[in-house]
């Protein structure tokens, strides 16, 4: 579970968070939506232990992300908005590095490459990957540690519609396994019926909760292309079967 209470943060003299309070429960996909500059990414960075809040408190499964940062980080996986990797290392090397860093068995790396469709480029240096492939490598890293809390900052931006759909299926499956999934996005409408909760962030606070089955198109619209690709998508059942096989590794 993720809990943030009265988070504040200033960049210089500019306040970005002004007492933000939220909760994200296990078994649910919680969306944090809002316009640019609303404070979504800053909230995620605070929760990931990357920046210190000016005030307030944030916990992951009860562990304070400031005072008990490393133990809190053990429980979470974070996917930044534009993940960057060592340009000279290959996809497989990057995954192995993070697997070793987190004490994860290295054999999971191949399954993650398979899941994210990167097996064929496993030996390609990350500097030669497209933006979408880098995002998929980031997704592979996100799932690698099998952490109980997943934080994703604008995860679909570089992905094509088919992979955005697949990402949603993957995250739904992880939520069904009891994980806490918190996602920031401004492609709100794409998550209609996928997310369990949707929090509208504005001016550094949570303004209100939106109905997750009737999400607006206010923060960007690429749903038309998403629906056009529906026929090419692997069915949710096939994605789920693939994921179940990985869980057993």
């Amino acid at each position: 579970m993720i809990a943030a209470e009265n988070l504040t943060k200033n960049y210089g003299r500019t306040p970005v968070l002004r007492g933000l309070t939220l909760r994200a429960e296990p078994g649910e996909i919680t969306l944090l939506v809002g316009a640019n500059g609303a404070g979504k990414s800053t909230t995620m960075k605070v929760l990931a232990g990357l920046i210190r809040p000016g005030g307030g408190r944030a916990t992951v499964h009860g562990l304070d992300v400031v005072t008990d940062r490393i133990n809190a980080q053990r429980l979470l996986s974070y996917l930044p908005q534009s993940p960057s990797f060592h340009l000279r290392l290959t996809c497989a090397e990057v995954l192995r590095f993070y697997a070793r860093l987190r004490g994860v068995i290295v054999s999971r790396c191949d399954a993650m490459l398979e899941l994210t469709g990167l097996s064929e480029v496993a030996r390609v240096r990350t500097g030669k990957l497209s933006g979408g492939m880098r995002q998929r490598l980031g997704l592979a890293l996100l799932l690698l540690a099998d952490a109980p809390v997943l934080l994703l900052d604008e995860p679909g931006l570089s992905l094509d519609p088919s992979w955005r759909k697949r990402l949603q299926g993957t995250l739904q499956f992880e939520a069904q396994r009891g994980k806490t999934v918190l996602i920031t996005t401004h492609l709100v409408a794409e998550w209609n019926g996928v997310a369990d909760r949707c929090l509208l962030c504005g001016d550094g606070v949570i303004e209100r909760e939106l109905d997750p089955t009737d999400l607006p198109h206010d923060f960007g619209d690429s749903t038309s292309s998403l629906h056009e690709c529906d026929r090419e998508m692997p069915s949710p059942v096939s994605v789920e079967n693939e994921l179940r096989s990985i869980v057993s590794i």
Binding site: L50, I51, R52, T67, D68, P80, P83, R88, F97, Y98
Partner: protein, 267 residues
């Protein structure tokens, strides 16, 4: 944020960081160039020197100007090389000090290997193996201090250009600036009345400490030439020990500062 030095020594994390640094160094073209230059420098020292002492003196010059600069640039490059990856790296449950220690240990071991190339021709052909081995270990300590200096510059700066400016400025200051300042300061009545202050300033500079130790060890300067003050006399008597101590102190202080700086970093 807690200053977490509790976890840098997690073996799996250090193992991962060491393996990654080694891999990155193996495919780094600058390291290939450095290896080639080290070998050429070592061979040139043997070819163009009349005896073992002259060879040692030649290698000393390479160490002073070339190894120290390359070690610094390597530290800068290593610290800045993955700067864009920091958000992903620092979201992992590993103390940030581990990244500094992992990088330093890997670069130290790599330099240990590469410097063998510099000393190998002299060791193979020369007879004063003990003197050359002593110079090898001291060159390695000097490299360690400048790798740490490069890491600090790399972690302090916001981009690679800024890091290079900071790093190279520090190198120029230690190589020439301290001596020039000491030269000008020698005119002051205070320093003339307490010359040990002047000596102490030189002693604290790892490049001067290395230069003095190596020159006396190679018998390029007669000991009595600098035996003018009690502190200078002590320094000359304990030059090797002092250089080792000052190099280790600089290295530890710079690594600790790098870890502190990284711990405070925010995106």
């Amino acid at each position: 944020m807690n200053f977490a030095l509790s976890s840098p020594f997690e073996t799996h994390a250090l193992h991962a960081l060491l393996a990654r640094e080694f891999r990155a160094a193996l495919i780094n073209r600058y390291f290939h160039v450095f290896c080639a230059l080290a070998l050429i420098g070592g061979a040139t020292a043997v070819l163009f020197s009349e005896d073992t002492n002259a060879t040692g003196f030649f290698i000393l010059q390479i160490a002073l100007y070339f190894v120290s600069l390359f070690a610094l640039l390597t530290g800068v490059s290593s610290a800045q090389g993955e700067r864009e990856e920091w958000p992903l790296l620092f979201a992992q449950p590993v103390g940030r000090g581990a990244f500094v220690i992992g990088k330093f240990c890997a670069l130290f071991l790599i330099f240990g290997g590469v410097l063998l190339l510099l000393f190998l021709p002299a060791l193979v052909t020369g007879s004063a193996a003990t003197m050359l081995l002593r110079l090898y270990f001291q060159t390695l300590l000097l490299a360690a201090a400048f790798v740490s200096c490069g890491l600090v510059a790399g972690f302090l700066a916001n981009d690679r250009s800024q890091a290079l400016i900071i790093g190279v400025s520090a190198w120029l200051f230690l190589l020439f600036g301290v001596d020039l300042m000491a030269l000008f300061a020698a005119r002051w009545p205070l320093l003339q009345s307490v010359p040990d202050l002047w000596v102490a300033a030189l002693m604290l500079n790892p490049l001067d400490a290395f230069r003095i130790e190596a020159l006396f060890a190679l018998q390029q300067i007669p000991a009595e030439a600098a035996n003018k003050t009690p502190l200078a006399a002590w320094w000359i008597d304990h030059a090797a020990l002092w250089f080792s101590a000052i190099a280790v102190m600089w290295t530890l202080a710079l690594i600790a500062f790098s870890a502190f700086r990284l711990e405070r970093w925010e995106e």
